[in-house]
């Protein structure tokens, strides 16, 4: 629990936490904050920002501000969930490869390297296009499949170096089962790294979701910041000069992504003594 206090003292972490909480609050209280239902198409089309429509309206007469507020839910959900799944998989693979070593390690490492080199977006595009159902879970799946390799590569060497430490060797000699050793000796010492990984994975998730939606590979009738951007681009927002429709969702993605990246950086600083501010 002391970690939480140390974290809060870190300026970057503070900024990150506050931003994320802010977005979380907006997501949770969306029905109360948004003035109109996001899908209601009754307004005049392509209106510029005004008191009635803070960010204007879309090409189909929807209120942009309400869309953005409601869109917070999906964006946050996909970002955090995909971050979570990626972290779980990369941790499992990193720990198994690092702890077991030998042929298992070799195979997993080759697999990891391959998935690291294969570029994320093109693979995501291929996977999404072939999926029969396009929606939130498809996107989460696709992000997870493409994003786990980096975390695994980071976690494995840590596990390997822990394995050679005396206290772990002691547990082995006593006869503890591998599960016990991993759970009690190894995992607590890589927690910091795993948490940092989570934030990095979440950034990847958020940006990927936005990218996929923007390309039209998500569920275009769902509401997230990414889909708003998709419709903005499709609806020629730029030619209409509707800069709020076009730029605000992207800015929010950048802010949320940036907050997650700050958290990643802050946790990294805490875990790696050489990066610590002095």
């Amino acid at each position: 629990m002391e970690y939480i206090l140390v974290l809060l003292r870190n300026r970057k972490a503070m900024v990150g936490v506050v931003t994320i909480l802010l977005f979380a609050i907006i997501a949770i209280f969306a029905p109360l904050i948004a003035p109109y239902p996001p899908t209601y198409m009754g307004f005049d089309q392509v209106l510029p920002p005004s008191a009635k429509h803070l960010f204007g309206t879309t090409a189909t007469g929807q209120d942009v501000f309400s869309q953005i507020v409601w869109g917070t839910r999906l964006t946050l959900l996909v970002g955090l969930l995909s971050g979570l799944f990626v972290t779980v998989i990369s941790t499992v693979i990193g720990v198994v490869a690092g702890y077991l070593g030998g042929i298992v390690d070799e195979i997993l490492m080759i697999l990891t390297n391959v998935f690291l080199i294969i570029p994320g977006l093109p693979l995501m595009i291929i996977l999404s296009t072939y999926m029969p159902v396009k929606g939130m879970w498809t996107i989460i799946l696709v992000i997870t499949v493409t994003g786990w390799a980096w975390g695994a590569r980071m976690i494995r060497p840590q596990v390997m170096s822990l394995k050679s430490r005396d206290f772990v060797k002691a547990s082995v000699v006593i006869g503890e089962s591998p599960f016990h050793i991993i759970a009690a000796d190894i995992l607590p010492n890589v927690v910091g790294l795993i948490v940092a990984q989570f934030f990095a994975a979440a950034v990847y998730g958020v940006l990927s979701e936005a990218g996929l939606e923007f390309l039209g590979l998500g569920n275009a009738s769902a509401i997230s910041w990414g889909t708003v951007l998709y419709w903005a681009d499709n609806g020629q927002a730029i030619l209409f000069g509707l800069w709020t429709w076009l730029l605000v969702p992207g800015l929010l993605i950048a802010l949320f992504g940036g907050a997650l990246a700050m958290m990643n950086f802050a946790v990294d600083e805490m875990v790696n003594p050489r990066l610590k501010k002095r």
Binding site: P122, L207, L247, G258
Partner: protein
């Protein structure tokens, strides 16, 4: 040499896995899009187009799956990726050949600038870790790193092309078809915004990794020793710290370039810049599976080649790899 051998092995392995993914995916999906598509289009496509689909998917109902697989690999190795559906009657290979150079040019050149600039900023930021410059460029880099590529593209497009009209909105060169020097000028002029987008978004990543590497190296004994020897600060910074901090950048090059390429694809789409990003977008819209698969393969290959070059460069830079350990 064992190092190089290993890298070449991974190169070949990844290439093979990419092809295999291309082969297996359509068959894995429920409903088998390959067969479904062929069935759907059977009445309306020319024989060649149908054949192209079969080539792209490696489908031949008369053969077993394994035979189809090897046949497919064979086709690919002879450069036959089928005919494009969206750009019919051009073959996929032709389309890729037309559009690939634009992306390679754009990404290649900008990555060089971004790498050099980012590395230099990272070096000075890591060396003077608590200076004002450092306090500014670290959060800025973190932020820029998290910004979606296409958003920066949209912002630049809106501000500089639409609102201010300083640069063209889309395309790689003027529609009027200039030639000679004018063509070169036009190409450069049109490349400014896309290039700027990629530069801005990729810079942050290089700065942060270089800074982190510098900070890690600063804790090493040989840096303390260099200081004890009474060497001037500049010499220590460049020959002892930066020179060593640079190395991890090369080993991690593949991931970095993968992210940059992914971002570049989105940028091209925003600016309708005729590279492979734009092409893949067209393929998606038109459900041009042969083109899409081939693009996935070629983009991966391009990254693999870039990565292999980085690995080879690393051999030169790190004597431990070059000369083997004692």
């Amino acid at each position: 040499m064992k190092y190089v051998f290993r890298k070449v092995l991974i190169f070949l392995l990844t290439a093979w896995i990419t092809l295999t993914i291309n082969f297996i995916l359509p068959r894995l999906m429920p409903g088998n899009p390959a067969l479904a598509m062929i069935a759907k289009f059977k009445g309306r496509l020319s024989v060649q187009a149908l054949h192209s689909l079969q080539v792209a998917f490696g489908i031949n109902p008369d053969q077993s799956a394994l035979t189809q697989y090897f046949h497919y690999l064979g086709q690919v190795l002879t450069g036959n990726f089928g005919v494009s559906l969206a750009y019919y009657p051009n073959t996929v290979a032709q389309e890729v050949a037309i559009h690939m150079p634009w992306t390679i040019g754009l990404v290649g050149i900008i990555t060089i600038f971004s790498f050099i600039g980012g590395t230099m900023l990272g070096i000075s930021s890591g060396w003077k870790r608590n200076s004002l410059g450092s306090a500014i460029n670290v959060p800025v880099s973190i932020f820029l790193n998290a910004v979606p590529y296409f958003w920066i593209a949209l912002v630049l497009q809106y501000v500089f092309a639409f609102a201010l009209g300083w640069f063209p909105l889309t395309g790689a060169f003027a529609v009027s078809g200039p030639t000679g020097l004018a063509l070169v000028g036009s190409i450069l002029y049109h490349a400014v915004l896309p290039a700027l987008t990629i530069f801005i978004t990729s810079l942050g990543g290089w700065v942060l990794t270089m800074r982190n590497n510098m900070l890690n190296v600063l804790g090493e004994d040989y840096v303390t020793f260099a200081f004890a020897k009474g060497l001037p600060d500049n010499v220590i910074k460049n020959n002892y710290v930066a020179r060593n901090a640079l190395l991890p950048n090369f080993t991690g090059f593949a991931i970095a370039i993968g992210l940059i390429v992914s971002g570049a694809l989105l940028t091209e789409i925003v600016f309708s810049y005729p590279g492979v990003g734009y092409l893949i977008f067209q393929a998606v819209i038109n459900l041009d599976y042969p083109l899409m698969q081939a693009l996935f393969f070629f983009i991966t290959m391009a990254i693999l080649v870039a990565n292999l070059l980085a690995d080879l460069a690393y051999v030169f830079l790190d004597p431990r790899v070059r000369l083997g350990a004692e």
